[in-house]
Amino acid sequence: MDSNFKTELVEAIILAHQNLEGPLLPILHSIQEEFGLISEDAMRLVASKLNITRAEVYGVVSFYHDYRQKPAGRHVLKLCRAEACQSMGSEENAARLLARLGLDWGETTPDGRLTVEPIYCLGLCACAPSAMLDGEIHARLDAAGLEALALEAL
């Protein structure tokens, strides 16, 4: 069981969104914002409160790239891998950074400080390559810039 899970908090989140026409995604966004992931307990509670099956909730959680079922590192670095960033060398820069950190895409450093994930387009395509660190966006990241950004989080 997720040690941080608080039934009352999840219930409050569900209650706050229940009047929406399509409440499931907003509820899941809020749960993840609060707990950093969507645990099995949370899914069970959401299913019972919305009167849908656990399979439906799990189906949604597992479909969307944004939702996590496992916790991420303390910092999350999302590197754009889409074409515009590729045209400016993002793949080479990312490969170098991952090798330096000893990580593959989606993995977290052993000390739990940094997770590196792919993202497909931040809409900053004329100032590529771009990345997002803990929700903050960065553009024109050459190899040195990317390394400096990652070091901020380490």
Binding site: L20, E21, G22, P23, L24, L25, P26, L28, H29, E56, G59, V60, F63, Y64, H65, D66, Y67, A82, E83, A84, C85, Q86, S87, M88, I119, Y120, C121, L122, G123, L124, C125, A126, C127, A128, S130, M132, G135, I137, H138, A139, R140
Partner: protein
């Protein structure tokens, strides 16, 4: 002194917030009274952060600004090393025909008074007088076609929803702008959000819909924040709600945040996502105009289509239709991105050629190397070699060249690009983002990656290239939506125009 410092995501990602703070600090140190307005972006992204200073001659620009450049703004500004002169006279800007983007970068996005002073809500006032049928006719006459890429006439869609029976109808704005190389929706949501509210309200009036949703991708946090604030302001000003502008019509809006699924940019997947389901594509028919959100008649339009509605209703259908060529009427916000010297947003009437955009307007590549390929229309769009740069920017002209204009994105690559790798990426992306509903897309994309890997490895390249062609035919004609159906465009165009990249390994092997 009155400064403008953009709050657009590109400006922020290149340091605009720090520049704005530094200007304020510098002014305080000098005991000067300054006004700093956070505007949208002008769309000249190579100059971001682009600071503008109001002068009697007009707004003068400085960019790309760094913190070290800030003190100089208070000295002899004309001799500032980053001075670019009057912003609206910069050729990239001066050459445009800005209709949809007329206010973007000019006004304070969250100042309703500013919006109204620049022509805002004239369109809605006119629409209220015209009535539902009149609005639909006006939009039809403007020739506006869906700016998401499919190019379906917007007025025809609205007319279908207007005449569909239903106790509840919806207007849905597709701002799930996932195509690499596109940022028009984002710029407008951050630079002129009331324009979308006005456009959607007009759509509501035209069709009898009382409720609207703006579906924004989660990768656009700044757009989400700005739209939410603008909606709250519009409600307070009686521009949304039970009696919009005292017209007796009800219309209200909500922002809905996506969750990182590219396929939700497909309209029916988007509707399922809005309903709280997996974003899976629906089979058509029924069309969303008749059976849409929660089974109700629904207008679902691309954000740029809706952003263009106010100017059509403000200046009239004819004014808009007078721009453009053939069946592509009006203007297109072309988004120039990737390895490009002058990247950004260039709104222009249809008919300009690809070469004019890439070479003359954008100035070629950022690296200074020759342009080798341009991907037009996002990850599902074709790669164009310079030999096809005479292609006119027009829905039909692109189709004739086996391409598509899509949402208007252009991604430039220099001669270091490996087109076999890009073809592989197209398949890989499709596999990563497939909703899984139909087999050609779900399985075909994964098989596509495997076969292209074989070609790259030099394993029976001719036989495997034939296999890719065959697979692409299946995906094209057998997929439910554009994800599986259009992934063949980048793949086949890469093979057709850059065959040397697919036989390198074979040549290398033969030479050994």
């Amino acid at each position: 002194m009155h400064f403008y410092v953009p709050c657009d995501a590109v400006a922020i990602a290149t340091g605009a917030d720090k520049i704005a703070a530094a200007i304020a600090a510098q002014a305080a140190r000098r005991g000067l009274d300054v006004q700093i307005t956070r505007n949208g972006s002008r769309g000249m992204f190579w100059l971001e952060p682009l600071v503008e200073l109001v002068t009697p001659e007009g707004r003068v620009g400085f960019g790309p600004m760094t913190l070290a450049d800030v003190p100089g703004l208070f000295e002899e500004a004309a001799n500032h090393p980053k001075a670019v002169g009057l912003v609206e006279q910069i050729p990239f800007f001066a050459k445009q025909q800005r209709l949809t983007f007329a206010r973007c970068g000019v006004i304070d996005p969250l100042n309703l008074g500013d919006y109204i002073a620049h022509g805002g809500y004239v369109g809605l006032a006119h629409a209220i007088k015209l009535g539902a049928a009149g609005i639909c006719a006006e939009v039809k006459d403007s020739g506006l076609r869906g700016r998401g890429g499919a190019g379906f006439p917007t007025g025809v869609k609205w007319e279908t929803v207007r005449t569909a029976p239903g106790d509840q109808k919806y207007v849905v704005c597709n701002a799930d702008e996932g195509d690499s190389g596109t940022f028009a929706d984002r710029m407008m949501m951050e630079g002129d959000p009331f324009c979308l509210i006005e456009g959607m309200t007009i759509a509501g009036l035209a069709t009898g819909a009382t409720k609207g949703y703006v579906y924004i991708r989660s990768e656009y946090p700044h757009s989400i924040r700005t739209m939410n604030k603008a909606i709250a302001l519009a409600r307070r000003a009686n521009l949304l709600g039970a009696d919009v502008m005292d017209s007796g019509h009800t219309f209200d809006l909500e922002v809905f945040v996506g969750a990182g699924a590219y396929v939700c940019g497909e309209e029916t997947a988007l509707l399922d996502s809005l309903e709280g389901k997996r974003g899976q594509v629906r089979a058509k028919p029924p069309i969303p105009a008749l059976v849409g959100l929660f089974g109700k008649p629904t207008v679902i339009n691309n954000a740029i289509s809706l952003f263009t509605i106010p100017v059509i209703l403000e200046k009239g259908a004819k004014h808009y239709a007078d721009f453009g060529m053939g069946r592509s009427r009006g203007t297109m916000p072309v988004q120039i991105a990737g390895n490009v010297k002058h990247g950004g947003l260039f709104e222009v009437a249809f008919g300009v050629t690809l070469g004019e955009i890439i070479n003359d307007i954008a100035g070629g590549t950022a690296t200074g190397r020759p342009v080798r390929a341009v991907q037009a229309g996002g990850p599902l769009g074709a790669y164009f070699p310079p030999s096809l740069f005479d292609t006119e920017y027009d829905y039909e002209a692109f189709t004739r060249r086996n391409g598509l204009i899509g949402h208007g994105g252009l991604v430039v690559f220099d001669d270091s690009v490996d087109m076999a790798k890009m073809a592989r990426f197209a398949m890989e992306f499709c596999a990563h983002e497939s909703c899984g509903k139909c087999t050609p897309c779900r399985i075909g994309s994964t098989r596509g990656v495997e076969v292209i890997d074989k070609i790259i490895a030099g394993v029976e390249p001719e036989k495997n290239i034939a296999l890719v062609h065959d697979l692409c035919e299946t995906m094209k004609f057998g997929s439910l939506c554009a994800l599986g159906g259009f992934t063949p465009y980048p793949v086949l165009s890469a093979i057709a125009h850059f065959p040397e990249d697919f036989s390198k390994s074979a040549i290398k092997l033969a030479a050994e």
